[in-house]
Assembly symmetry: C2
Homo-oligomer: 267 residues x 2
Amino acid sequence: MTTDQIYSEIKRKGSMLCVGLDTDYQRIPECVRAGRSVPEAVLEFNRRIIDATAPHCVAFKPNLAFYEYLGTEGLRILEKTVEHIRLNHPGQFIIADAKRGDIGNTARMYAKSYFETFDFDAVTLSPYMGTDTVTPFLEYPGRFAIVVALSSNPSAADFQTVQGDGKPLYRSVIERMMEISSPEKMMFVIGATKADKLKEIRGFCPDNFFLVPGVGAQGGSAEEVIQAGSNAKGGLLINSSRGIIYASPGEDFAEAAAEAARRTATL
Amino acid sequence: MTTDQIYSEIKRKGSMLCVGLDTDYQRIPECVRAGRSVPEAVLEFNRRIIDATAPHCVAFKPNLAFYEYLGTEGLRILEKTVEHIRLNHPGQFIIADAKRGDIGNTARMYAKSYFETFDFDAVTLSPYMGTDTVTPFLEYPGRFAIVVALSSNPSAADFQTVQGDGKPLYRSVIERMMEISSPEKMMFVIGATKADKLKEIRGFCPDNFFLVPGVGAQGGSAEEVIQAGSNAKGGLLINSSRGIIYASPGEDFAEAAAEAARRTATL
């Protein structure tokens, strides 16, 4: 996928929304759980959430932790979830939320995993170990590395905002990653709970897409994010997970998710 | 497992060696590949490497990237590899080399994955997103978080050694993690390609175990590491992966791996 294709979907749908598929069996409505094994229920829940929210979003983001803990069966569900999106909702951008980051030969295997074994368009990466942990992901045309720069969790400030060489660590990360890549290969995770930071970062990083978590359950506002972080191509994928997929615990869970997505998506 | 148990194995075997199971099908000897599917060959190779090297090492470290890229089957092989070690080589410390790091609710799922779904003793973690990405792993008695502080890859210096608040980032990471944990819960990854740094870090972090990669294929020396990084309890797990498991491409691969392990292990 190219950023132009993503942008044309954003314009067509009037939405920058990415729906995070952090599917926790404990929170799946009883009507989906009844008569199904754990993996079957997770897959059925995902399919119904995807079909309901797809008209209101441009991306889906399965969170790998929620599939790995189901072991072998979990990966099968992940595979089938990606397949379901590809077959039924072409044009959706599919992100593996993995936060991986390891030395070159290991990074190459992770790139194979997400871009070949699984058919993801992008994968989130953690930058702590430096640029050579990212470069293997840049070798796939039309696929993206999404590097965590500033996250939305409380302890993000432990290290990411520490000043070094006269600037905060997140800025060093973004600038270094911009040197080794183009906006057609690289996006950044920038937490929505910090709209002022989003604006500052857009100042020195005008062209890359930002994946913005923290809207909804974590407290960030989509309007603020759009105002602070947009660029000429839209430039944002605004993620919400729990606020959408668990919008209702009842039989109307899919309709409630669609409505939550529609509300969050408004440009 | 407790650090006393690890130390007693180190003394008993005269070895601080951790064998990294970065099993790449392309490098498995033909005699193992013949007549076997890819996952079967990986599992058979692992079992024979484990049985051959176990007398000379105290830990095994499967690298999850090398199993994930095989998809569903890869996770089954990983599960069976851990099972094989538990059943046949009790006392071995088993590390999931995962380099995970994500917000609290996701970290809890990863902790479940590695400590419940799979039966690992420890998991490697990336600290970029701060302490709350680590705390869920500290809630399991007898299990360890192993936080990457200073890695052995060329681009480790991109961010890890940047000075902030008057000290390098890796030192901030270690000090912050020491505040939230005890040496019975927390180890650190310290790359062996930097023996001087290992000595410096031992100075302000006397009690925690260090997992030291970079010996062998990456160029570090085990003797230097032991001299620079040991403490009263040994305090080191020295990892070698490719230098041991691919010691010979022929039918003698298991004996060659045992011999390479024996040589690397010497205290």
